[in-house]
């Protein structure tokens, strides 16, 4: 049964592995307060961030767990779309997004402006020496 695939498989590979879903049911009017911001790029509908977390102890599973998270995320998006939810271009919450996530998937239409701000404020790209998302 595919729905149990990743939980069962990761647990079989690493008894310290865990998969956690964190659902965050904020108010439907959550984006009606405040002004425009880098995230979310679209404030026309409430989008709950929802975090998937995987923990494991075997370093040889690093690529497997990342693959599993991307697979689960893709499945969840497909379920939401099939449920009639308008999430085809819904932004991923920056603090939860997995490494390698395209910046467009987080900042949407704000990305170009953010790149211009980065170039103007940090022309030597000092912040590019740190971790995190690179503009």
């Amino acid at each position: 049964m595919r729905s149990q695939f990743w939980g069962a498989r990761l647990y079989a590979l690493d008894k310290n592995a865990s998969l956690v879903s964190t659902l965050e049911p904020f108010g439907k009017d959550m984006f009606s307060y405040g002004n425009g911001s880098a995230y979310p790029p679209d404030r026309s509908q409430a989008v709950y961030p929802s975090a998937l977390t995987v923990e494991w102890s075997n370093p040889s599973l690093d690529n497997t767990t990342a693959f599993a998270l991307r697979d689960i995320s893709g499945t969840m998006k497909a379920v939401a779309l099939a449920d009639g939810q308008n999430v085809s271009h819904a932004a991923k919450y920056v603090n939860y997004a997995l490494f390698g996530t395209p910046l467009e998937d987080i900042y949407g239409g704000n990305l170009e402006r953010l790149r211009k701000i980065r170039a103007a404020i940090d022309p030597n790209d000092v912040m590019g020496l740190t971790g995190g998302w690179k503009f």
């Binding site: 729905s3 879903s21 709950y48 961030p49 975090a51 995320s73 449920d83 932004a91 603090n95 939860y96």
Partner: protein, 54 residues
Amino acid sequence: MLSVYYDAVPITEYSPAVFDAFVNQTKVSLSSELPHPGTDCECVLSSGERGFML
């Protein structure tokens, strides 16, 4: 040492279909195989299936 990865799943409503999918995607095993059977971590999906949430 434990390693941790996160990913974000933008959702506009935690409908029964979405909720069950979240639980199904992340549960470890059915109740007969629970690492700690009988704990309050057991759950019952709307489909009637029993599962385990970490």
